[in-house]
Amino acid sequence: MEERNISEQESLQLIQEMIGKAKSHYHESGASAILWGAVIGTCGLISFAEQQWNFSIGFDIWFLTLAAIVPGIWINIRAAKKRIVKTHATAAIDIVWNVFGISIVCVVLYGNIIPSISEGFFAKENIELLSHNMLTGETKKYWPTTLSLSSVFLIIYAFPTLATGWISKFKPMIIGAVVCYCFFIASLFTPFKYDMLLCGLAGIGNWLIPGLLLNRRYRKAKSAHV
């Protein structure tokens, strides 16, 4: 393309062509979604298996999520370096995922801090929570855990996925998020063991599968430009 005057008709065609080119430029490799989908999927399924078949792998599998933070940050930095264009949609999606990261940390803090703080508040009022087994008559101290915290995690998992799918008009993510919301409703009625299964399946449906589809699309677009 060179610097030359053009007819009015050519101008309109050029505008349409360039806007189309800008919109069709695709750079999302889905690596981050694949990483987190695989990690959450593995953690949820192993956690469920441990309880279903009464065995232990010797450590809390959910620590894997902490281990995945460093490669997760590395993937994001690498993707940002490769990015040669920033659309309004990608800028909005970046904000959504940053808010998601903050929210996840807050929910983890909530789940870990609330029980001990609640116990302290009750103690100040000279109240002790007790659980009583009506069958054996046994009464013991009750640790005030946050009930069905995994349901809250399922809502948090679904939110950025739905927002990303909606903004980028990527159906697999919209479907994954809707499935995740269905899992959330199911988790309201299921015991902890099955909540873990739902969390694992949510990780796979919400991120791993859409991430793999994104990656396939990315590779296709990349090979088309070579």
Binding site: E2, I6, E8, S11, I15, M18, A22, V85
Partner: protein, 96 residues
């Protein structure tokens, strides 16, 4: 009576650059070069003209020890582009 089309925008490469930038938040020089299929020298000259007109902002920095040029359309550029498209549509509509 038709308004004259903005001479800054009524040029193939500058209009292509503005059409790309109106669709995105910001873009690197390499992106504009790839999409417009232009030479680096010619693109630099046209980007400078758009910058001088106040239609785009250009930020030059270093990324991984390589120079990086980031272009972004300004509010003045958005207004000029919208005006250009409006005039173009009026002209083409009248000539149908």
């Amino acid at each position: 009576m038709f308004k004259d089309l903005d001479p800054i925008l009524h040029s193939q490469l500058r209009l292509a650059v503005m059409s790309l930038l109106i669709s995105v938040k910001e873009a690197e020089f390499t992106f504009l070069k790839e999409k417009t299929n232009s030479t680096a020298g010619n693109l630099s000259v046209q980007i400078q003209k758009l910058k001088d007109a106040g239609y785009i902002d250009v930020v030059k920095q270093f990324k991984n020890n390589y120079p990086q040029t980031i272009c972004k359309i300004t509010p003045q550029g958005v207004t000029a582009f919208e005006e250009y498209v409006k005039n173009l549509q009026a002209y083409l509509g009248a000539n149908k």
